[in-house]
Symmetry: C2
Subunit: 239 residues, 2 copies
DNA sequence: ACGGCTGATTTGTATGATAAATTGACGTTG
DNA sequence: CAACGTCAATTTATCATACAAATCAGCCGT
């Protein structure tokens, strides 16, 4: 319970039901018990339960109608890009398949963002990226490097001026982080991608969108190759 | 009230408050009145109001704490990719600037999706795309053409096998549709993009990702150019 | 001057009652 | 016999009220 930081009662219910839906314990089309009995089962009042149901409804997971009951909506109605929904999926599907999908999203977003940033960056935004890069270069340990690395990418995203892209990135990134941390500690080579980032930075400085796109593509691809080798390595170790 | 189809009481409140936040009437950091007075203002019970607040909280727009009150969260915490939040923004900012951002997202997603679909499509998925294309080619009027066009893109997205991409597309697409419909009626040339779609379809049939990416890029770019010309034309007409 | 305590305020939760919506069965009628 | 309208039962939707928990501000004691 501490992990999800579900301090309030209803947020605990949200997490519980949300997870059960996402994991497939409750499948689309299923109608869940009526509110009164469900409230008893969860050991909360009907008020708290209903607030939780409203939250799940806002995320597209369920739909309530009088007399019919509350039923799980088809998956294509879910807000898969909601931070909570995504994190529930990350918890329940630590499969390589799902990681691949997240990485695919990252591979789509970041090169496009780099190109866009190269087109539209201001001088101040470039300076902020330079600052983040310098902090990466000077990072003494993996943790501070990771922090600077994140700042580099976030600053670049901001330079695109498209808040939709920023939002998409932050959601995908935070989901990926739940997997990355596993292999972050073994990062004896945590600065291996520094040259890649420099190429990106220079392309954005020179305002060359296609160069920035390619450089960021290489950066992400390399990062993923590294993650993959770390994954197979840990698989071997555990096997 | 009919437009948003907010039949239930609290969804009306959600829409009201959500719009006021998104439009900037209530700015990040602002604390809104305490629940009791707010309930009176909205002419609903505190229960209904609280359920609405929970929904807005689930979308990242607000945050409530005892004694402190309920305040608007900074914009980077908002779920900008939530369908409701996006539609509220569409209503309140019909600016070209925001349309451009949506189009930029589309220009990022679709070529990447086309490439991915070319890699992973099954024969059944290709057949479904072919069917949608045939319906586009045979469409007698703009409405059925639009329906088939949407089916074409959705089928392609499904062929990527990445439900995150599907979700992103459907959100962006439905937001764009609120603008597109304006110029949809004047589509005397509603089949102008048929050749483009054929190139995409063939590339996916031949499983050539880069060809599919380029073809879809051209398709989207052409579609946007068409929209832009329609926009300036209507501007002239209204001026 | 500083630190802990107390009280006031606001959200969080609980309880019980009533309204509204929708389905399914029942009865009526052509 | 079929078709249609009506009514009752069930479930969510809303309301009103009360109490619990959290938290900040100011007071008080040292």
């Amino acid at each position: 319970m501490r992990a999800g930081n579900a301090r309030s009662l209803h947020s605990h219910v949200v997490r519980e039901l949300g997870t059960r839906i996402v994991v497939g314990d409750l499948q689309p089309g299923d109608v869940l018990p009526r509110e009164e009995t469900l409230a008893e089962t969860m050991e909360v009042s009907r008020t708290a339960l209903r607030e939780a149901l409203k939250v799940l409804s806002a995320k597209g997971l369920i739909e309530a109608r009088p007399k019919i009951g509350t039923r799980v909506r088809p998956m294509d109605a879910w807000n898969l890009l909601d931070a909570d929904v995504l994190s529930w999926r990350c918890e329940s599907m630590p499969t390589d398949d799902f990681v691949d999908k997240l990485v695919e999203m990252r591979e789509i977003i970041e090169p496009a963002a780099a190109a866009s940033a190269a087109k539209r960056r201001s001088d101040a935004q470039l300076a902020a990226m330079q600052d983040a890069y310098d902090r990466m270069a000077a990072a003494p340990d993996p943790d501070t490097w990771a922090e600077a690395d994140l700042a580099f990418h976030q600053t670049m995203l901001k330079a695109t001026g498209n808040e939709l892209m920023i939002s998409l990135f932050s959601v995908v990134e935070s989901a990926l982080r739940t997997f990355f941390v596993l292999s972050a500690n073994n990062a004896s080579n945590f600065a291996y991608s520094l040259p890649h980032h420099l190429v990106v930075l220079e392309a954005i400085r020179e305002q060359q969108p296609e160069a920035a796109r390619k450089a960021m593509h290489d950066t992400v691809a390399d990062s993923y190759a590294n993650l993959r080798s770390a994954r197979t390595a840990s698989d071997k170790k555990s096997a």
